[in-house]
């Protein structure tokens, strides 16, 4: 099934104004009354938790109310509808998208993707033999504004990761790229080569919800600059910056008023069906190649500091 990836995450939050400001400071652009979007049109919708247009909340209290996937075309949408109508209710909404519950109770939407073709160039890196950036192009500047390219992935806490994996694989055609033993799989839908658009972490049922979500940036420099901007605005880092092993993506996670972490990520591995999945135990050593910690700007100078 030609599902491309998440188009939109819909939240019902406690503090709408705080979330709106957070989304702006993260680097998303406001669109209409409730939406914040990346360059390609994917994004998030921020509503008050008691907004009646929202699907029901999970018992756990998670603020993530719906995950909307973008698919290639109407034929794919029809195919998903036909497949899932066999054992559950599939609603067709006014905008032509469909809505249903997955096997764990998460509300999913599917729509013909909103992703626009835009210039999502990757950061370019020079080496001795390769001048990828081009002659006389500088790599970094203080006032560069990192751009948020596209909605990348969502990580869910789930009571039954085996059941979750089976649903996404058998019913929606997702592929497992790698796995943390006893924890859960990294999965990508058939319409993307990204290492993962979702990852499941097995937890007790009272935790069901969103662990984090993230957008792709153009490269590690943008992740560092975007994260530094957040720190300078007073937001608090949760984990990072660093680089994951599975997926190779650079990361920096921030706590957020969305009731989950919001990450910046870049440079994820790309896979096709010839990829052989790996498996490892989850833990500090397998979760990252390295982990750095923010420090306020500082610089060494010539001599020892002058005596007071």
């Amino acid at each position: 099934m030609n599902i491309i990836g998440p188009d939109k995450l819909i939240f019902g939050v406690d503090d709408v104004e705080a979330c709106r400001q957070f989304a702006r400071d993260y680097g998303l652009a406001e669109q209409g009354e409730h939406s914040f979007v990346a360059l390609d049109g994917t994004g998030i919708e921020v509503r008050s938790r008691d907004d009646e247009s929202l699907p029901a909340a999970l018992a756990s209290g998670s603020m993530l109310r719906k995950t909307v996937y973008g698919v290639a075309d109407q034929a794919t949408l029809d195919q998903i509808k036909a497949e899932l109508e066999t054992d559950r209710d599939v609603k067709v909404l006014e905008d032509g998208s469909i809505e249903l519950l997955d096997d764990l109770g998460f509300v999913l939407g599917f729509q013909v993707t909103v992703r626009k073709a835009v210039d999502l160039a990757a950061e370019r890196v020079n080496s001795v033999a390769q001048c990828n950036r081009g002659i006389n192009h500088v790599g970094v500047s203080k006032d560069h504004k990192p751009s948020i390219q596209t909605l990348s992935h969502v990580v869910y806490f789930v009571p039954d990761p085996v059941k979750a994996e089976a649903f996404y694989e058998k019913r929606l055609g997702f592929v497992t790229t790698d796995r943390f033993t006893g924890v859960g799989p990294f999965m990508r839908p058939a319409g993307t080569q990204d290492h993962h658009t979702l990852f499941f972490i097995g937890t007790p049922p009272h935790m069901q919800g969103c662990e984090h979500f993230t957008f792709h940036l153009s490269g590690p420099t943008d992740v560092m600059q975007a994260g530094t901007n957040m720190v300078n605005k007073g937001y608090q880092s949760f984990w990072g910056p660093g680089r994951h092993l599975f997926g190779s993506n650079w990361f920096w996670y921030f706590k957020s008023p969305f009731g989950c972490n919001m990450e910046f990520d870049a440079d994820m591995d790309q896979h096709d069906d010839s990829w052989t999945g790996r498996e490892a135990m989850m833990g500090p050593d397998n979760s990252q190649a390295f982990l750095l910690q923010y420090r306020e700007k500082w610089a060494p100078a010539g001599g020892p500091p002058p005596k007071a």
Partner: protein, 120 residues
């Protein structure tokens, strides 16, 4: 002096929280919440991983209505009065309460021995 002054009760609005970094480590190590005329203090570590702080921004320890203490990482909610986790990953666990003193003239104090004991 065997105690440190944290401010006056009147420095807090009802339903307001503040983080404190008394040793200037660059991050708050505990926070104080005012509920009515009572003050409560907790170590700024979420029991979910026992290793990370709660707020998404400095001093943002409470929900919008100041009903609960919140850990922003995964949305855990805690009772303001006893630090008990009512919802979220650390359900049933408790924030570590820090003893503070409020004097007759409404000043808030923390003992040096408490700072040492809780590594604040």
């Amino acid at each position: 002096m065997n105690k440190i002054h944290l401010g006056a009760v009147s420095d807090f609005n009802d339903g307001e929280a503040k983080g404190f970094d008394i040793n200037n480590v660059g991050a708050d190590t505990f926070f104080v919440v005012r509920k009515g005329n009572e003050m409560f203090a907790y170590v700024d570590i979420c029991p979910h991983y026992n290793d990370t702080s709660l707020p998404w921004k400095r001093h943002m320890y409470l929900d919008n209505q100041s009903q609960h203490i919140v850990c922003a990482a995964h949305g855990a909610l805690f009772d303001i009065e006893d630090g008990y986790c009512l919802q979220g990953p650390c359900l049933g666990q408790t924030l570590r309460k820090v003893p503070i003193e409020v004097s007759a003239d409404n000043d808030i104090w923390i003992r040096l021995t408490t700072i040492e004991e809780f590594n604040l």
